[in-house]
């Protein structure tokens, strides 16, 4: 009997290993066309599917085989797929700071050699170098720019007779204090119509701090936290307490998207990233926006306390998977996305491409008809990325926790900075 039991265990172990094994199938190509497995967050009928379709419609010898993952699950599923060693050629980065742990874990292919062998003109996107390089190596190519703006509905401002953010920018008065003041003037204080909206992401609660260059944790592990963090939290608390902005916890628990807040007129002013004109275009095309037109949609700078304006943000980009067997083909896709041809497609969809030329401006003007808005949307200003180090994802998580504590009165002004610094130190101590 013993030998049968031993055989049984051996067979079950072999079956388990067989089921656990991975396929090392060679790169597939049919009729000279190489298919690239490209992972992205999408429902299969949005800007990314259109972007991919545009690439495939060119009839090149490389085709994108889209692998769509629903946006809400993308982060955790991508982590699982990468750690599980799935066969993948390229993927989009949804949370930019995740590129650091992914790169150090060997998932991302450095692109320097591929750029050289494909004669890619890096100067096209070199202005984003700090956001797409790690340790001197280019690890991504951007298909969108990365800047935050003030978006507002001019019709709502006109109705209330309140000066618009654009007017205040032009007078040099669009500061964070003024932002609070204008939000208060625009609010109906009835918990239905607010003055402005700051979204639920941790980054959205620290705009002023990020704009002032606070890095939370520097690349060398030193802590960089000062009172601008407190100021950022205070701005949000003032607005929430005065019913001038939707409460963070309400937005989070009710899963209310910032676009919904803007579409419905719940808040006529929103501070968010460069993709929002594309979102608005989508809103108009799906008839989700009522009561105002595209002509009422305006864009201007973020509030800023410094005389030298700078925006915040990082571009949206894709990576070549380090274990891909079709790196050249995957790179060709990324290179097209980060080229003038890709930029035109992005612009058509209302997004800010990583490079802006006359053709792009012409296309963008159909989505941003207001000339002044278009000028602010495409102006060349310095951009500071949010907590852009290998600690970034963890920092954002702590910001999310602490801003909630602060807004709910569970932590005082005097306790905030020391407690936050201690959290940052813990992150440094526990990050590989």
């Amino acid at each position: 009997m013993k030998k049968w039991v031993a055989l049984f265990l051996a067979v079950s172990a072999c079956l388990s290993l067989f089921a656990n094994g991975k396929s090392d199938a060679p790169a597939s190509s049919a009729g000279g066309v190489t298919s690239v497995d490209f992972y992205v967050w999408s429902d299969g009928n949005d800007e990314y599917s259109r972007f991919f379709d545009s690439f495939n419609e060119q009839g090149l010898n490389v085709k994108i085989n889209p692998k769509y993952i629903v946006p809400a699950d993308y982060g955790s599923k991508l982590t699982t797929l990468l750690a599980g060693g799935i066969s993948m050629d390229a993927y989009m980065q949804k949370s930019q700071t995740d590129m650091f742990p992914q790169y150090y874990n060997g998932y991302i292919e450095p692109l320097n050699d591929l750029m050289a062998s494909h004669n890619y003109d890096y100067n096209q996107v070199k202005s984003w170098d700090a956001s797409i390089s790690i340790d001197g190596k280019v690890v991504a190519l951007p298909h969108r720019g990365g800047k935050y703006y003030t978006y507002y509905n001019a019709k709502a401002f006109e109705a209330k007779g309140v000066p618009t953010p654009t007017e205040l920018v032009q007078k040099g008065e669009w500061t964070w204090d003024k932002y609070v003041e204008i939000s208060q003037l625009m609010s109906d204080n009835d918990e239905k119509t607010f003055g402005s909206c700051l979204y639920t992401w941790g980054s959205c609660s620290v705009y002023p701090a990020a704009q002032e260059g606070m890095n939370f944790i520097n690349a060398d592990g030193s802590i960089d936290v000062d009172n601008s963090l407190l100021k950022s939290f205070q701005i949000r608390k003032t607005l929430e307490d005065g019913l001038d902005s939707p409460r963070l916890v309400d937005l989070k628990v009710t899963k209310t998207h910032y676009s919904q807040v803007f579409y419905t007129g719940m808040a006529p002013m929103l501070l968010i990233g460069e993709w929002f004109p594309g979102t608005v275009q989508n809103g108009f095309s799906k008839d989700l926006i009522k009561g105002y037109t595209l002509e009422d949609f305006r864009i201007t700078r973020l509030p800023c306390d410094s005389a030298d304006y700078n925006s915040i943000g990082a571009p949206t980009f894709g990576h070549v998977h380090a274990k891909s067997k079709k790196k050249d083909a995957a790179f060709e896709v990324l290179a097209w996305m980060a080229s003038p041809a890709g930029a035109l497609v992005e612009a058509k969809m209302g997004f800010l491409p990583p490079m802006v030329d006359d053709k792009v401006m012409e296309v963008l003007s159909t989505n941003v008809p207001d000339k002044t808005s278009l000028e602010y949307f495409t102006e060349d200003v310095p951009v500071k990325p949010f907590f852009y180090t290998k600690y970034g994802s963890k920092v954002e998580q702590i910001i999310s926790q602490y801003v909630e504590k602060y807004l709910l009165g569970e932590i005082s002004d005097s306790e905030l900075i020391p407690a936050f610094k201690a959290e940052m130190q813990t992150i440094v101590d526990t990050t590989n």
């Binding site: 750690a83 874990n105 916890v249 628990v253």
Partner: protein, 299 residues
């Protein structure tokens, strides 16, 4: 097949029937458990650059205030959640054990939430508990009571989730208790009647003791399931945006999720999982050891 033919069945045949199930067990239970155990002693973050760190992860956990806070939240959830699920399950089992018109319908009705998707239910309850448009607050308003913040306040968020889990799960325990109630020998009630016992006395002296094996099973399962709660917390209080509000619903499994999939700390998260396993194991062992004092199997 009778016992004799079973005894005559050759071992290869028996083992070949066991093989598919055993392979599944090895693949989906044993190997993941083993790898979790091994990874917990490393700083594995998903890539090839990892090293063995001994018990460092466990030492860090002992000092990690987020983990300790999540443990407090989990224990609150278990104590309140288990008590309510067992009491409600028993109460409804007692009611539905009586013969009345529609008895089967109501049994099915109360059990039904248990077979529904927890994600779908969580989404539905997110709408019900919407702070301004939710039907829960509209009902409170209708009866003249003030609005409740439900999921948006640290003092009520966990209780709200417990209510949802209670709604989902008590039907399962109700069915278990119904099975237990129906297996109680009626002669015991007849004897109690002859002795002049009233309803309350019969419940405490006959029903509860006779139900104790079922109660023991239900309690064990309920405690284990409550320690593993995740879906409702994830779906109803913020998902990948960090749980909340202010960490008030961050249970241990949620902390494990955050550390694995947001922080790339697979080694650390594995150590947290093992600590959770150990806690569940200790509680279950204590329950098993103490069952002799209150569980009756002899009638």
């Amino acid at each position: 097949m009778n016992t004799k033919s079973l005894e005559k069945t050759p071992w290869p045949t028996v083992l070949s029937f066991l093989l598919p199930g055993f392979t599944g067990f090895v693949l989906f239970v044993f190997l993941p458990m083993l790898s979790t155990f091994l990874i917990s002693f490393t700083n594995y973050s998903g890539g090839p650059n990892w090293k063995i760190v001994g018990i460092d992860n466990y030492l860090t956990i002992a000092k990690d205030k987020h983990f300790l806070q999540s443990m407090v939240v989990t224990f609150k959830f278990v104590v309140i959640g288990v008590s309510l699920q067992i009491i409600m399950g028993l109460l409804f089992a007692l009611i539905l054990n009586r013969n009345f018109f529609g008895q089967t319908f109501f049994r099915s009705l109360f059990f039904m939430p248990n077979v529904l998707s927890s994600v779908g239910i969580s989404l539905a309850f997110s709408l019900i508990f919407h702070p301004t448009k939710g039907i829960a607050n509209q009902m409170l308003e209708f009866v003249g009571l003030p609005d409740s913040p439900w999921l948006t306040d640290p003092s009520t968020a966990l209780l709200t989730i417990i209510m949802v889990v209670l709604w989902m799960s008590f039907g399962y325990y109700m069915i278990i208790f119904l099975g237990g109630l129906q297996s109680i020998n009626p002669s015991l009630y007849e004897a109690a009647d002859i002795d002049g016992a009233n309803g309350v006395q019969k419940f405490f002296r006959v029903t509860l003791p006779m139900l104790s094996p079922t109660m023991f099973f239900a309690l064990t399962m309920c405690i284990i399931n409550s320690f593993k709660v995740f879906d409702q917390v994830f779906m109803m209080t913020g998902g990948t945006d960090g749980g909340g509000p202010a960490g008030s619903t961050n249970v241990v499994v949620y902390d494990i999720y955050q550390n694995s999939f947001r922080n790339f700390r697979f080694g650390y998260a594995s150590a947290e999982s093992l600590i959770l396993l150990l806690i569940i194991l200790i509680i279950t062992v204590i329950q098993f050891n103490n069952q002799k004092k209150w569980v009756t199997y002899d009638i």
